[in-house]
């Protein structure tokens, strides 16, 4: 029926386009139409074990359905990947797609939309994913956000990328349209690695070019067809954040010159009102054309950008001199490299404590175990230690910068901070060793004892000492002026006293700990949360429920502010909060916290972990529509 020459590109494309409507969606819609016309109830379209409920959206990557998983008794999002078409088939076998998609399914992190399962149905590949109700970051940004909100959303998304990189997954197409903002404010990145399934182009003529990703955010090496690395994700993240903050992309809008523009490096940061220059400087480095000139990793970048979110008072100390410094550097005229960069390389040998070797050992040991939840636990442990190591590197860089760059602290103070960081590193090494030696079931407990480097930014003040408990080593620590150490001892004291049922002793330790906490001034949020939690446990034993609830409420308020919050701790706090709700509050609050606690725990350690199951049982005991199974 076709007239004229089919060689004409338009006609060829037109003829091919008819195929666009075949596949699962056509079948689903056809079935619905026929059922309606014939007055029969529509056969629920079944996809493997999933029952498709309705279509929730269509995107460049494929249609998304809301479906029910009877086995897990939960609703999921089913994403149909458009990989079955003429383009990819020749290049990449479907088996490969399945293998790679399954590696994505192994990734579990609060800032990543979880992939539960990969399903092959009549030549089409479906991903069963966590159903997130919310909007895209692109849409969210469209409402116009204060810079802090924008940066903190990107930092959260960045943590998702860090987790992926740690698991060996590269996103390849990070952008606001691929990032979701849940109704509960949770930021999560989706479509990990999917871009690679769309890059192969079977062309019969000319050099084959493989392009995946979105040109506006893509790293220059991706244009050149080089394989995407974590550094490319870092580039995309920087490019998207720049656009979100400055209101326009760093590289104009001309597609034809985009590749060349990017190869020439980023323009001068436009000095956006309110945004610290340090953010602009960090983005500039992340947008370096040479991947090796960017930040060492996404986590290092986040540790640089994250502190910029801190309130002005602190930022002034860290960054206030940044502008002057830049001016000074300009005058000196490149006699020596940028000292900021020198500090960025001050990794302090953290890799000897937590590096590929240690990671391999932990993953091997845990996976060797028989238990079903061991792989999830291994991922969880690796993610926690990644976050810890990244925080440590960031703290080390900050200490270096304060001394050598900002010159806001003396060498003596640097020594003190360095000593603190060394102690934290040694403690971390002990935890890493412990993780390989304990049963998988208690790994999360071991990790919750990690000392965080945030404590090392504390400056010893000359304020009043806390009321000391009647403890020798504690007294000794105090006598030596080591309040920081004394606080650790006091906290350990509360734990022991509570376990031994000595409520009075626990009370004395708690009081001492609070006194010390106030004395160390710049608090360590991780430690303060721990202090609030032990306080809550003590108040519970004393039957002082209102105070117990108050302490947990404060703990939760702090925990939710953390950049790399431990999902297990989050779960513990929220469950305790749910169980300690004052009698006159709306039960929905308790149910909400309980359900969130279970979800957080499941995501971290898997459904079959005994502790997670106990947590779910506690949630069920609270009743409510949590529908916890």
């Amino acid at each position: 029926m076709v007239t004229g020459s089919v060689d004409e590109p338009l006609e060829g494309e037109l003829l091919g386009a008819a195929a666009q409507s075949r596949g699962f969606e056509t079948a689903r819609m056809g079935e619905a139409v026929m059922a309606a016309v014939l007055g029969r109830s529509p056969k629920p379209t079944q996809l493997g074990r999933y029952v498709v409920l309705d279509i929730v959206g269509s995107g460049a990557m494929g249609d998304v359905y809301r479906a029910y998983d009877p086995q897990m008794q939960r609703e999921v999002a089913l994403k149909r990947l458009r990989v079955s078409g003429d383009d990819v088939g020749r290049q990449r076998s479907r088996e490969q797609v399945l293998v790679e998609a399954r590696s994505m399914a192994a990734l579990s992190h609060p800032n990543v939309v979880g992939v539960y399962d990969v399903h092959l149905h009549d030549d089409e590949v479906f991903l069963a994913m966590e159903l997130v109700s919310g909007e895209t970051l692109l849409h969210w940004l469209g409402a116009g956000r204060p810079w802090r909100e924008t940066v903190s959303a990107f930092v959260a998304a960045g943590h998702g990328l860090v987790a992926a990189h740690a698991a060996g997954v590269v996103h390849r197409d990070f952008k606001p349209a691929n990032t979701l903002v849940g109704d509960d404010g949770r930021i999560c990145v989706t479509d990990f690695g999917l871009a690679q399934f769309f890059e192969a182009r079977g062309r019969d003529h000319g050099p084959q070019r493989e392009l995946a990703g979105t040109p506006m955010y893509m790293a220059p090496e991706q244009f050149a067809g080089a394989g995407a690395s974590p550094a490319a994700d870092q580039y995309a993240w920087c490019s998207a954040l720049w656009e979100a903050l400055a209101g326009q992309s760093p590289f104009g809008g001309d597609v034809s010159t985009l590749s060349a523009d990017k190869a020439a490096g980023p323009p001068v940061w436009p000095d956006v009102r309110g945004v610290p220059d340090a953010v602009g400087a960090a983005l500039c480095r992340g947008l370096a054309p040479d991947p090796t000139a960017r930040w060492a990793s996404m986590s290092v970048l986040l540790e640089v950008v994250g502190p910029c979110l801190a309130p002005r008072r602190r930022r002034a100390g860290f960054w206030g001199a940044g502008v002057l410094l830049a001016a000074a550097a300009a005058i000196v005229g490149g006699t020596r490299g940028d000292p900021t960069l020198a500090c960025a390389d001050a990794t302090g040998g953290i890799a000897t404590v937590w590096g590929p070797e240690q990671r391999g050992r932990i993953v091997r040991t845990l996976r060797a175990g028989e238990s079903e939840f061991a792989p999830a636990t291994a991922n969880y442990a690796a993610a926690r230690l990644d976050a810890w190591a990244a925080a440590w590197t960031g703290a080390q860089i900050a200490a270096c910068r304060d001394t050598h760059v900002v010159r806001s602290q003396s060498a003596v103070a640097l020594d003190r901070r360095t000593a603190c960081l060394v102690a934290v590193k040694e403690h971390g090494a002990a935890v890493v060793a412990a993780v390989t030696q304990v049963e998988a079931v208690v790994v999360h407990e071991v990790l919750s004892g990690l000392a965080w480097p945030s404590r090392c930014s504390a400056r010893d003040s000359q304020g009043p000492l806390g009321r000391a408990a009647n403890d020798e080593s504690l007294g000794e620590a105090l006598a030596q002026g080591r309040r920081d150490h004394a606080l650790d001892l006091a906290l350990a004291g509360v734990d022991e006293a509570l376990q031994a049922g000595q409520v009075d002793a626990a009370e004395a330790y708690v009081r001492a700990a609070w006194g010390l906490e106030r004395a160390v001034e710049v608090g360590d949020a991780h430690r303060r949360i721990r202090l609030l939690r032990v306080t809550a446990r003590l108040r519970q034993q004393q039957g002082r429920r209102a105070e117990q609830h108050e302490a947990l409420d404060s703990a939760w308020a702090e925990q939710r502010q953390l950049l790399a919050a431990d999902p297990v701790v989050t779960a513990q706090i929220r469950m305790a909060l749910a169980e300690s709700m004052p009698p006159d509050t709306d039960p929905a609050h308790a149910h909400g916290h309980a359900a969130a606690a279970v979800q957080s725990a499941r995501q971290a350690l898997g459904v079959t972990h005994p502790w997670v199951q106990r947590l779910a049982a506690r949630a069920s005991a609270l009743g409510g529509p949590g529908a916890l199974h």
Partner: protein, 200 residues
């Protein structure tokens, strides 16, 4: 194998097996017809089209084929849909207005490849009747006589329209690629393709 007409008649006699068979034959094409133009509501219109086909069987004056009858019903349902959607009193003019004019939200057909995405978008931006001519010709492989029947125009007009529609389509493609949002464009390849389309 029973003809489409036999199935329609059996359906009218209450034979649901025939109804099922008839719809199964044409559901993909009718689905394409609506999904390429609308961002929402295709399912509802597909349903109306099949129901109307059975109802209007008697009012037919010798159609060229069942399919030309089917798509003329679909085109009428589409016009009715636009009329109801319309806030303004005057109806949408399918000779000058496009599906994009009626609703700028992207259609339900989403392509994976950039070229095809641009093509599908360009189709929505030419007048609706031109879009119908192109799609029935290339996608559903309807003959000139059948297409003339669908749009109630002389056969010669269909050929002229097809030529004009292709020219309009090339213009739209060039325009879309030129104004391409860099967020979506696949750079030079797309430009090469657009040039090839224009010169082809």
């Amino acid at each position: 194998m029973q003809t489409d007409w036999e199935l329609v008649d059996a359906w009218r006699g209450g034979d649901t097996v025939a109804a099922d068979a008839l719809m199964r034959r044409h559901i993909d094409g009718v689905g394409r017809f609506f999904r390429s133009k609308l961002s929402d509501g295709a399912q509802d219109l597909m349903q109306r089209t099949f129901v109307a086909c059975v109802k209007r069987r008697d009012s037919l004056r010798d159609p060229a084929s069942f399919r030309s009858f089917l798509y003329s019903v679909a085109a009428k349902e589409l016009a009715e849909h636009y009329r109801q959607q319309r806030k303004r009193p005057e109806p949408l003019d399918p000779e000058s207005e496009s599906a994009y004019d009626a609703d700028p939200t992207p259609s339900m057909l989403v392509a994976q490849r950039q070229e095809r995405r641009v093509l599908l978008e360009a189709l929505r931006r030419i007048p609706i009747n031109s879009q119908i001519v192109v799609e029935l010709h290339y996608w559903e492989q309807l003959s000139t006589i059948e297409i003339a029947d669908v749009l109630s125009v002389p056969q010669g007009t269909v050929k002229t329209r097809l030529r004009r529609a292709r020219a309009l389509l090339k213009e739209q493609i060039a325009g879309l690629v030129e104004a391409a949002n860099p967020l979506d464009a696949t750079l030079t390849e797309l430009g090469d393709w657009a040039r090839a389309v224009r010169e082809g």
